[in-house]
């Protein structure tokens, strides 16, 4: 038997569910285990980095809250796109679909900005004797960063600018953070490509229609899933990373 068409709401299958929808749910179950393993790795290594920086040295909760908000709103516009399509409004579908994709791209833009920001991060440390900032960071700085600080201060300036960035190679936090959020970003990227494909495909007569709503339904399921994963990552990585007591 073949993949059934999605022209009718009732499917000619044992359960009445569409094959492709069932497949999507199985895939999402599998993807849950994928992210669970990455998040578990992150948690196992939380606080185990030999050198800095730590989450508290890099994260800006207000900035990431904005991108999180944008991603959550994209889920809403995804719902509106699907609702418009099932009501037969192709125009509404296109508007909401494009805005969903744009919000997804905005989120990705924030992520690129944030990744770059982390790699070029600098810290200002006063050159006075027993500078509190230096004492705070002493255990996190590498020997190269410490000698850099001392070299700068030897020139008689008041405040040294020490390179304190993070790449995936810097420490365990960098490794686990970039790989976890990077794979989430890759999921979002795939989602954006999928959404844009549907958007452009909708200009072909009859290619996207209320009868063929399942094509959009599947993309929406995936999109919402990626969103939910981000809520977990934002909580576990960002909020728990910055606020004491978690």
């Amino acid at each position: 038997m073949s993949e059934p068409n999605n022209h009718s709401t009732h499917e000619d299958t044992t359960t009445g569910l569409n094959h492709r929808k069932l497949l999507m749910w199985a895939f999402l179950g599998s993807d849950c285990m994928f992210f669970a393993s990455l998040i578990a790795t992150y948690l196992v290594y939380k606080g185990k980095s030999v050198t800095g920086p730590d989450p508290i040295d890099l994260f800006s909760i207000p900035v990431t809250s904005v991108s999180t908000f944008v991603l959550l709103m994209s889920s809403m516009s995804m719902v509106l796109a699907y609702a418009a399509l099932t009501k037969g409004s192709l125009k509404g579908f296109r508007v909401w679909m494009l805005s969903t994709a744009i919000m997804g791209m905005t989120f990705l833009g924030f992520q690129v900005f944030e990744f770059r920001d982390f790699t070029v991060n600098e810290v200002k440390i006063s050159c006075e004797e027993n500078s509190p900032k230096y004492i705070e960071l002493e255990s996190k700085l590498s020997s190269k960063q410490k000698s850099d600080y001392k070299k700068q201060c030897a020139d008689g300036i008041e405040e040294a600018h020490v390179e304190f960035g993070m790449t995936p190679r810097t420490n365990l936090f960098g490794t686990t953070f970039f790989v976890l959020t990077g794979f989430h970003g890759a999921h979002v990227t795939l989602g954006v490509i999928w959404l844009l494909s549907l958007f452009f495909y909708s200009f072909k007569r009859g290619a996207v229609s209320a009868e063929r709503h399942l094509d959009v339904d599947l993309a929406a399921l995936y999109w919402h899933f990626v969103d939910i994963v981000w809520i977990v990552i934002f909580t576990v990585v960002y909020l728990f990373g910055v606020y004491e007591g978690f």
Partner: protein, 602 residues
């Protein structure tokens, strides 16, 4: 229908090799899986024979230590991922649609993609022999020995990438079978009437879907450490090699059940047929399978008893490991109950099935011995473990698969095998297996570590090692008999009827080999063992043929998408532009595939 620019004319009625490359018929894909996996099984067997030759006596110098490391790594990886799993997949493909009364799987093109991707993974792994040396860190690749600092060649890279590609193949297949079993059952084929083999395949597919992502992540972490200098398993940066062990075995233990559950399903089909009795305690057998699948997630740390996780962790995992022996034991008694007072036909498949019960029980008993954490500390990494794993995988999974090949041979090929030669092959195989693997219990308890390339004569391991090596030679002879029987019968065997065994399940209600569309009319199921019950009640009707069944048409795209993965796999290791080329081919394949209608409109 489609505006996709790469639309090329569809392979409507291909012949010869293109027929096989573009086929999306689950039966042909099943045969492709089975034949490829069997060839890889022979390669894995040759690797084992080379190792046994080196170990035949103390202080031999047939193989140098580096090659020996590559041999045991490739033997383990090949047998598990390239032989037993895909042989299981061969049965899933061929039998599940037939057993549930369907005309194909839910996603026929995805099914073709699974097969070709599996083949790509197999090629990538075995190409390592010719591109700088095979992987050499054991089939579970413990960090940090797999790290760049200790393992500079490309061997581990090939291992990582091939397992990732094989993971894609397994996941795609598992999604497909889950949907097929849930959604394509014939009317009346409820879950309480589902044949046991299909039930066990269903549990296996669920385990695959949940377990494979875990090793995918472990492999990604290792790959990033090796390729991009991250710190996951770098101890100087605080990385913890134990994380690899946890991730690997969280996958690895469910994997053990992925290997054995289909075998249990096969045996549960053979025994009732040749006992002329329904399976004893069908619901209990199913429930035990579900419990095994569930509890398989709670025992992974018994592979790590000597790591030093502490007495609490060791005790908990010792208890769960003992507990998982219960549903397994329940199944053994159900099989014995099936045989009890049955009218037994001791032909070749039945002999293999009974052989399975015997050897799998021995393997299960040594398994319970390892569940005692204290005693396991003595057995860890000795030949006792090697004996155990071969009793459950070789004497468990493989023996059932060979029995299954004989049992369904008439259905697969439309011909009968040679019964006399089959029995001879079985006895040779069974005796050779005991001669090969039983002595490993003794060498193991005498302290012989696994994975050493040679040993001194002063340890007193010579005698039993020589016996094992002789056993392997006999095993090779028994496999020659098996292959000769299969090949000669396939070519010139007697024609088989649709139901040569007077069997019970739906696949026997149609001709052998089945027509391309399987069922001219989708059957309505009224009983468990529906075909048998209807035969008893005289309710069977003449099989009708049809030339008016619409089947999904063949397609080039699954093959092309997999070909892209093959190229990308080599590219990631050897050259980034090639990787990009491969990924682009896959993208084109997937896009063209998703815009290609299942059937061209006429």
């Amino acid at each position: 229908m489609t505006s996709f620019p790469l639309q090329i004319s569809r392979p409507i009625h291909p012949t010869g090799i293109w027929n096989w490359i573009t086929t999306i018929d689950h039966k042909k894909i099943g045969i492709l899986y089975g034949v490829s996996a069997f060839i890889l099984f022979i390669i894995g067997g040759i690797e084992a024979m080379l190792m046994r030759a080196q170990l035949a006596s103390s202080n031999l110098k047939i193989i140098d230590p580096e090659l020996y490391n590559q041999l045991f790594t490739m033997h383990g990886t090949t047998m598990i991922f390239l032989a037993i799993m895909p042989m299981g997949a061969a049965f899933f493909n061929y039998l599940i649609p037939l057993q549930i009364g369907a005309r194909d799987v839910a996603f026929p093109r995805l099914n073709a993609f699974s097969y070709w991707t599996f083949l790509a993974g197999a090629i990538i792994l075995n190409a390592s022999w010719f591109l700088g040396g095979a992987p050499n860190a054991g089939w579970f690749g413990y960090a940090p020995i797999t790290g760049k600092a200790y393992n500079v060649g490309h061997g581990i890279d090939f291992w990582i990438i091939s397992l990732q590609v094989l993971g894609i193949a397994s996941l795609a297949a598992a999604f497909n079978f889950i949907v097929t079993i849930i959604n394509m059952r014939a009317p009346g084929m409820t879950f309480s009437r589902l044949p046991v083999f299909t039930w066990m395949s269903f549990i296996t597919a669920i385990l695959l879907v949940l377990a494979f992502p875990v090793i995918t992540v472990a492999l990604i972490e290792l790959q990033f450490d090796r390729f991009y200098g991250t710190n996951f398993f770098i101890t100087s940066a605080g990385g913890n090699p134990i994380l690899w062990q946890h991730l690997f075995w969280v996958f690895g233990h469910p994997e053990v059940y992925i290997l054995i559950l289909p075998a249990m399903g096969i045996v549960s089909e053979i025994l009732p047929t040749f006992s002329k009795k329904p399976l004893f305690g069908y619901p209990v057998v199913i429930l035990s399978g579900i419990i095994i699948g569930f509890m398989g997630w709670m025992v992974w740390s018994h592979h790590m008893f000597t790591v030093g996780l502490g007495p609490v962790a060791n005790s908990v995992f010792a208890l769960t490991t003992m507990a998982i022996a219960i549903p397994t034991g329940v199944k053994i008694f159900n099989w014995l109950g099936t045989l009890w007072k049955g009218s037994l036909t001791l032909n070749t498949p039945m002999l293999y099935a009974i052989g399975f019960i015997l050897t799998f029980t021995i393997g299960g008993i040594s398994g319970v011995m390892h569940s005692q954490a204290a005693s396991d500390a003595q057995q860890q990494d000795t030949y006792f473990i090697v004996a155990h794993i071969h009793y459950v995988l070789f004497g468990g999974s493989l023996i059932a698969i060979l029995g299954g090949i004989y049992y369904w041979f008439p259905k697969f090929t439309g011909r009968m095998y040679d019964e006399k030669m089959g029995k001879l092959g079985f006895y040779a195989f069974f005796i050779a297996m005991q001669i090969t693997f039983f002595p490993m219990h003794f060498t193991g308890l005498n302290g012989m570590p696994r994975r050493i390339y040679t040993y001194g004569s002063e340890y007193g391991w010579d005698f039993w090692n020589l016996i094992s090596t002789i056993g392997v030679l006999l095993l090779a002879i028994s496999m020659v008999i098996f292959i000769y029987n299969i090949v000669s019968s396939w070519i010139g065997g007697e024609k088989a009827s649709g139901d040569p065994w007077d069997a019970r399940t739906l696949e026997w209600s149609i001709s052998s080999p089945p027509p391309e569309y399987n069922f001219a009319v989708i059957p309505t199921i009224e009983y468990r063992d529906d075909w048998w019950e209807k035969k008893m009640l005289g309710k069977t009707s003449e099989e009708i043929t049809s030339d008016d069944v619409h089947l999904p048409q063949p397609s080039y795209w699954p093959f092309i998408a997999s070909l892209g993965l093959l190229i990308a796999g080599f590219g990631i290791i050897l050259s980034i532009p090639v990787a990009i080329l491969g990924a682009s081919i896959t993208m084109i394949g997937v896009y063209a595939w998703s815009f290609e209608p299942v059937n061209d409109p006429h």
